[in-house]
C-alpha cells in the first residue's frame, strides 16, 4: 500500500522569501510523484511531476521539486514566493502500474504575507 505525508498543514511566509513544502511517501512499489496546487474555490492544477530521469524537476510558476529515493521524499521549493502563490498544495503518488489510484497527501496551506 501507498501513503503520503505532508507534515506541515500550514506554512506562513513573507513575500519574496524562499519556501519549502515537505512531502514524504511510503510505497512497496516504484511510484510516480506529483504536486498539485488548489487556488481558493478552484479545482486542482498540476504544478510538476516526476516520472523518471533527472531527480530535480521544474514546474510552472517557478516551482521545483527534488525526488530523493533514499529518503522517500519529494519536497517542493520556490526561491521567492509571491502573494499569488497563496493556495493549498497537494503531494500525490501513483504506483507505476496501470489502473491504480492516486494517493494524495492531506495538503499544505501556503500563506504568503506582504
Amino acid at each position: 500500500a501507498q501513503s503520503v505525508t505532508q507534515l506541515d498543514s500550514q506554512v506562513p511566509v513573507f513575500e519574496e522569501a524562499p519556501v519549502e513544502l515537505r512531502c514524504n511517501y511510503s510505497s512497496s512499489v516504484s511510484v510516480y510523484l506529483f504536486w498539485y496546487v488548489q487556488y481558493p474555490n478552484q479545482g486542482l492544477q498540476l504544478l510538476l511531476k516526476y516520472l523518471s530521469g533527472s531527480t530535480l524537476v521544474k514546474g510552472i510558476n517557478g516551482f521545483e521539486a527534488e525526488f530523493n529515493k533514499s529518503q522517500t521524499s519529494f519536497h517542493l521549493r520556490k526561491p521567492s514566493v509571491h502573494i499569488s502563490d497563496t493556495a493549498e498544495y497537494f503531494c500525490a503518488v501513483s504506483p507505476r502500474r496501470g489502473m491504480d489510484k492516486f494517493y494524495f497527501g492531506s495538503g499544505t496551506k501556503l500563506n504568503v504575507k506582504p
Partner: protein
C-alpha cells in the same frame, strides 16, 4: 475549451433528496475519477472508471452510484442525501500517456 467540466457548480438541497452531478472531459482520456473533498481539504477517492468500466470502488455508501454512459462522461448520483454528504466533489480524468490527472472545477454540495 474546458478540459474537464462539471455541472452544477453549486448545489444546495435538503436532507433526503436525490441529486446528480455531471462530468464531461474532452481530452480523450480513458480513465475518470470522482473525489470528495471535505471541509479540511482532505481529498478522498470515491470511484474510478476506465473506458466505461468500474475499476475502483472505495468504501463509499451505496447511496452513491456512478454511471459512465461513455468514456467522456462520468456522472454521480446520490440518493437520500445526508448532512455529512456536504463537501466539494471533484471529477478528474487521467492521461494514460503522462499519468497526470486533470481536475474539474468542483461541485460544492450543501445539504441542509
Amino acid at each position: 475549451d474546458t478540459a474537464v467540466s462539471q455541472t452544477p457548480k453549486y448545489l444546495v438541497t435538503q436532507m433526503g433528496n436525490d441529486k446528480s452531478i455531471k462530468c464531461e472531459q474532452n481530452l480523450g482520456h480513458d480513465t475518470m475519477y470522482w473525489y470528495k473533498q471535505d471541509s479540511k481539504k482532505f481529498l478522498k477517492i470515491m470511484f474510478s472508471y476506465n473506458n466505461k468500466e468500474l475499476i475502483i470502488n472505495e468504501t463509499v455508501p451505496n447511496r452513491f452510484s456512478p454511471k459512465s454512459p461513455d468514456k467522456a462522461h462520468l456522472n454521480l448520483h446520490i440518493n437520500s442525501l445526508e448532512l455529512g454528504d456536504s463537501a466539494v466533489y471533484f471529477c478528474a480524468s487521467e492521461s494514460g500517456a503522462t499519468y497526470e490527472q486533470y481536475f474539474g472545477p468542483g461541485t460544492r454540495l450543501t445539504v441542509t
